[in-house]
Amino acid sequence: MTRKTILGLLVPLLVVVHFFLHVGFGIERAAPDLLTLALLLAARETGMGSGGAMGFFFGLLEDAFSVLAFGASTLAMTVVGILGARTRELFVGDSLLFFFVYLGSGKLLRDMIHWVVAGEVVREPFLNVVLIDGGIAAIYLASVGLLLALFLGDSRALR
């Protein structure tokens, strides 16, 4: 199977699983942010336009459950989608370490933008939200991505 086919199947699957875990089963932070993972994986394969479009729609889906900071996820995911696509042109890395750092920083960036944009009403201390919770979530997401890459074997489909 080609890299595009694998991602074409994996990305929608991750999106569906993300919403089943978070919304369907009501698991909050115990479940990884598979939506951002899907975006980061897809963005490396597409151009900036498609990355931005995907980020926009993914973010909008997440914002459907956000009364107080509507649009924050949309903007954060759009920026991450665009920058994720841009990294392909800036960094040519296919090592597992690069892949881990790419996923982790993408998630951290997403949380940081969300924190900045969300507004004062819902904004909690930066240290708690971005550095501690965000850091843990970033490592969690990157680990899940790494496991997925290892599971898919030598195909290098995700990197």
């Binding site: 919403f19 369907g24 151009g47 900036m48 336009g49 980020g55 956000s66 903007l75 944009v117």
Partner: protein, 301 residues
């Protein structure tokens, strides 16, 4: 002859950049859409692509409810029956005393059971969805309660659509409730206090006069002042003295009666009966003959 058009790669890159910038602008615009439009977009998404996920959580909540042991339910029914039996004389007594004091009859509130769905997505903290809406008479501002040993306050409704409602629980930074001790002696204001760690949120009872001392474990309920929440709904229990300001007032930390994450099956206090009652009063309607179906939904003092 050399072409003056852009090479295909360059042209594609420029187009890509334009599309990316267009989506970036669009994303920024979404952030500044009027709240009404934002709600409409969110509701449209929830009722279409996200509907299967919401239905899954609704079905799971129903299954959990059905799995609740019949013996436990029977025990609760027995307890309720004994409480009702022991308090039946109080209704007549209360009616008599109110008559003596020339007090208005309490407006009856009605409870509507609902399933609470909590999306675990980013930015949805303090928010919950209910599977009841304007079709069932739910209105924005209606209090949401939960039985956790005793009935206690979860939060209130913020937006209502047909068949669904969105609410905010007590952990939301804007939550405020006028409160009092259960004996009605001390009054104050309750607000959330962020915890040092996730799930460690507590409530803060402030504006308590310095000379009033509250013991640990004292039950704090809504006071009904301000008309947002009906009087007498338990909010939490006093944990400890948090802070004293000068020699004139103090603040107490409360342990909430309801941990927001544990709420799945709730009761919405519909305001319709009370509003009908107020309209009657404004129109100069008499108070006599109003049903004395007293409940925590009563909104007068």
């Amino acid at each position: 002859m050399a072409s003056y058009t852009d090479p295909p790669e360059e042209g594609r890159g420029r187009r890509d950049l334009t599309v990316a910038l267009a989506f970036l602008v669009l994303a920024a615009l979404v952030l500044y859409l009027p709240p009404g439009t934002q709600s409409q977009v969110a509701a449209a998404l929830r009722s279409t692509v996200l509907q299967p996920f919401l239905m899954t959580q609704g079905a799971l909540a129903q299954a959990r409810l059905r799995a609740e042991g019949a013996l436990r339910l029977q025990a609760q029914l027995d307890s309720l029956a004994s409480i009702v039996a022991s308090q039946s004389s109080l209704v007549a007594e209360n009616q008599h005393l109110r008559g003596l004091l020339d007090l208005q009859a309490r407006a009856p509130g009605s409870f509507l059971p609902a399933n609470l769905i909590r999306p675990g997505t980013a930015g949805s903290r303090s928010m919950f969805l209910l599977d009841v809406g304007s079709d069932q008479g739910v209105q924005a501002g209606d209090p949401v309660l939960m039985r956790n040993g005793r009935i206690a306050l979860v939060g209130k409704i913020r937006e209502v659509s047909r068949g669904a409602a969105i609410g905010l629980d007590w952990s939301h930074p804007d939550f405020r409730a006028s409160a009092m001790t259960a004996d009605g002696e001390v009054f104050g204001m309750v607000e959330p206090r962020p915890g040092d760690f996730l799930g460690g949120e507590r409530l803060l009872l402030n504006a308590i006069p310095y000379y009033e001392r509250l013991d640990s474990g004292t039950l704090i309920t809504t006071s009904g002042l301000g008309g947002v929440f009906p009087r007498g709904i338990p909010i939490g229990e006093v944990l400890e003295l948090h802070q004293e300001e000068g020699n004139w007032r103090s603040e107490y930390l409360l342990r909430p009666m309801v941990e927001t994450g544990s709420a799945t099956h709730v009761l919405v206090v519909r305001a319709d009966a009370s509003i009908q009652r107020l309209l009657e009063l404004f129109e100069g309607g008499g108070v006599a003959g109003s049903p004395e179906v007293d409940s925590t939904g009563g909104r007068d003092g």
